[in-house]
């Protein structure tokens, strides 16, 4: 039985490599059928914001990789309600859809996984 892994992604999408690296870990784990969960926390929730057009930044579109998560078997996606609220994203559409959890539910979520890494 594979150990489950929760990846906590807490960096904004376009300023550095962290957001992409967290996503790469999730996709790689998913490709090997590992039970992977992904939690968007703090600035990480900004990855889920609608209508992002990073073309002029000459970076690969993180959105495409985010959309690919379910295709790679990573379907357990979560976002912090507090982080969304703080950044004005609480009422916005989000892609991909992530289950929104309050702080107590996040504590329980971390507890449920065998391993956790925060990027």
């Amino acid at each position: 039985m594979s150990k489950s892994l929760l990846i906590i992604s807490r960096q904004a999408p376009w300023a550095g490599p962290s957001a992409r690296e967290a996503l790469d870990i999730a996709l790689a784990g998913g490709a090997f059928d590992l039970p992977i969960g992904m939690l968007f926390l703090d600035d990480g929730v900004l990855q889920l914001a609608p209508a992002q057009r990073p073309g002029a930044l000459q970076q690969k579109d993180l959105g495409a990789n985010l959309q690919a998560l379910p295709l790679f078997g990573v379907e357990s996606l979560y976002a912090s309600a507090r982080s969304l609220q703080e950044r004005g994203l609480a009422g916005q559409p989000r892609t991909p859809a992530a289950e929104v959890l309050d702080d107590a539910a996040l504590t329980a979520l971390i507890d449920r996984y065998d391993q956790v890494i925060t990027l």
């Binding site: 906590i8 807490r10 926390l41 703090d42 507090r82 702080d103 996040l106 504590t107 329980a108 971390i110 507890d111 449920r112 996984y113 065998d114 391993q115 956790v116 890494i117 925060t118 990027l119």
Partner: protein
């Protein structure tokens, strides 16, 4: 499934500590290393937040990082060396490093 949360960034320029404190569960541990030990600086909001953590949450700080920065462990925090850090990593069910 208690978790040992490991922080290594300064709490004054970064939100890892405050986010981590909100996610700690009963029985979890928090270990400060590197610049994260600045959270024990007396007279700061960060130190106060650590002092107010529930008693069930164990707080550790790496001794060499404390002494390098002229800081002492607080009554609430236990100073540990690297062998003890390893021992703690084994004692908790998992380690969450806030990279």
């Amino acid at each position: 499934m208690a978790t040992l949360h490991v922080l290594s960034h300064s709490p004054f320029s970064d939100s890892r500590l405050s986010s981590c404190l909100r996610l700690l569960g009963p029985g979890d541990g928090l270990l400060l290393s590197g610049d994260a030990v600045y959270a024990l600086q007396p007279g700061t909001a960060q130190r106060q937040a650590l002092d107010l953590m529930p008693a069930g949450i164990a707080l550790f700080a790496l001794a060499e990082d404390l002494s390098a920065r002229g800081l002492d462990a607080s009554p609430r925090a236990q100073a540990v060396d690297y062998p003890e850090f390893v021992e703690l990593s084994c004692r908790f069910a998992k380690v969450n490093s806030w990279l």
